[in-house]
């Protein structure tokens, strides 16, 4: 086993959509969809969907292996600041040239494969980000 189907499925909204929790008590927004504001603890929150666009706060090119294959390395892991103001940790994919990565780069969310169980197991999909320039081309 690598993942639990129920853990993934229960949270599928957060894997398939970029959801933001807005607090009516302290006014802060947070990621992902939450029942309670992590800043002030209030349950007086509403959930809205992000437009899926933002800029790269910063990123790393990583070789740190957490599965048995090296095929996918290096990966780019970034912290994205959505236009709605909240930050999201995510993988950045489809980067044509790693040297084009820089803080401030415009990115947008896309649905991609996260991982799969065993060779014949389930495939988990979720959101990653791509540089917006790719879509504009």
């Amino acid at each position: 086993m690598k993942h639990s189907i129920s853990i993934f499925w229960r949270d599928r909204e957060n894997h398939y959509k970029l959801l933001i929790t807005k607090c009516r008590n302290c006014g802060k927004s947070s990621y992902p969809k939450l029942k309670r504001c992590p800043y002030c603890g209030s349950t007086n929150v509403e959930v809205v969907e992000s437009k899926g666009r933002g800029t790269l706060v910063n990123y790393t090119i990583t070789y740190f292996r957490v599965d048995g294959s090296e095929a996918m390395l290096p990966k780019v892991i970034g912290l994205v600041k959505l236009d709605e103001g909240v930050k999201v940790p995510a993988e950045i994919v489809d980067v044509p040239d790693l040297s084009s990565l820089k803080p401030g780069l415009e990115v947008e969310a896309v649905l991609r494969k996260y991982s799969s169980d065993d060779p014949h197991g389930l495939i988990y999909y979720g959101l990653k980000f791509i540089p917006s320039i790719i879509k504009k081309q």
């Binding site: 949270d11 990583t62 070789y63 740190f64 990966k75 892991i77 912290l79 930050k87």
Partner: protein, 384 residues
């Protein structure tokens, strides 16, 4: 709060195992080795202990053992003792010390053995990396493949750019830690490194290299925490376990400022308001530096350096991470706070790594991930 009229808790002994890849030792072998050393040192038998508190973060994941506290007691041949494990991610050992101190200060127990261990070499590194990454939120970070060194890398880049600090400046931490570790007989990497050795080091999460991060190793350390009664035959210099405080920070992606550890700062302000201590450059201080950058930010969050300036003060701190820190002493996770305690305890009594500290207070800082929870342990030297 723990006040002056209450019972006090003291460190009676701390023993450590050299950190290494101990392929020939199980977690039980390692733990019993340091427990024996502690008990032999103070002249107690295992059955005289009131409690054995275990600190481990990964034993159920990496050795398939839940309930390792009673398994240990079974191997030790003791039955009357109370046993339990404490876990707070990478800060488990600090929480175990808190439980131990509470038992002594409540009068429930007078001889509590805290043993921390972690067996990190039972599986190939990609499996250890995967299990280690479970200190972050699996539902948000783990499931996406976001790992601890990725965060360290992002924090380091933010820090360098915000404060105009260079790669070399950050790497001063590694150099100092290895210098210190070279005098620590328990260190996993007891050798000096050059100021640019990161250039040839394997990249983990750029700019974090192996030389910016801790080595993976097995280790165990044990401490005996006792009440007033036990200290009658104690040596002249005694170390009091004064207090333990901790706080929680937001997950990294929800923080406004990525370059400060607010839980660390908050824990210090709890200690300050209770005991009027602050952290100074000449204090015996042992902080968590899973990555160089975390050591620097911790110093700043503890108020001993200005933001962005920690790399300028570390050479003015003679008693900073005298064992070499996580970077060079090593980081057998559940055991690490016990190694920190051992180094400080010895530094404050018999001497450690060729040094002796005569100041009143010593502080241990432990945290899980980038300040997700941060714990401070306050020690005080009592001359009798």
């Amino acid at each position: 709060m723990w006040g002056d009229g209450m019972l006090k808790a003291y460190i009676a002994s701390v023993e450590m195992l050299k950190i290494d890849r101990h392929y020939d030792k199980s977690y039980v072998d390692m733990a019993l080795e340091v427990i024996d050393a502690v008990l032999n040192g103070v002249g107690l038998t295992p059955s005289e202990l009131d409690y054995i508190i275990v600190s481990t973060a990964f034993n159920s994941l990496l050795t398939h053992q839940v309930g390792s506290s009673y398994i240990l007691a079974q191997y030790l041949g003791v039955k009357n003792v109370n046993v339990a494990s404490v876990e707070a991610g990478e800060a488990s050992g600090a929480a175990a010390l808190d439980y131990a101190a509470s038992l002594v200060k409540s009068g429930k127990a007078s001889k509590v053995l805290v043993v921390g261990f972690e067996k990190m070499s039972e599986y190939p590194s990609w499996i250890v990396n995967r299990e280690y990454s479970k200190i972050l939120n699996y539902m948000v970070e783990g499931i996406k493949g976001v790992t601890p060194p990725d965060y360290a890398a992002i924090i380091m880049k933010e820090y360098m750019s915000k404060y105009n600090v260079t790669r070399e400046d950050v790497f001063k931490w590694s150099v100092k830690m290895h210098e210190n570790a070279s005098k620590n007989p328990y260190a996993q990497l007891p050798f000096k490194i050059s100021k640019d050795s990161y250039v040839k080091s394997l990249v983990m999460s750029d700019p974090i290299t192996m030389h910016d991060s801790f080595p993976v190793g097995d280790g165990a350390a044990a401490a005996l925490i006792v009440g007033d009664g036990f200290t009658n035959n104690a040596p002249k210099e005694l170390v009091e376990l004064v207090d333990v405080e901790s706080s929680v920070n937001l997950p990294l992606y929800l923080r406004e400022d990525l370059t400060v550890f607010e839980a660390t700062a908050k824990s210090l302000s709890k200690l300050t308001s209770k005991h009027r201590v602050s952290v100074t450059k000449d204090m015996a201080l042992n902080v968590y530096d899973t990555y160089n950058i975390y050591g620097l930010i911790t110093l700043e969050s503890l108020g001993v350096a200005e933001r962005g300036k920690a790399h300028e003060v570390i050479d003015e701190m003679p008693y900073l991470n005298v064992g070499g820190g996580l970077k060079a002493r090593g980081h057998p996770v559940g055991a690490t706070p016990l190694y920190q305690l051992g180094e400080l305890y010895k530094l404050m009594t018999e001497g450690f790594a060729g040094m002796k500290y005569d100041g009143e207070y010593g502080i241990i800082h432990s945290m899980s991930g980038p300040d997700n929870t941060s714990w401070l342990v306050l020690l005080r030297r009592c001359v009798r």
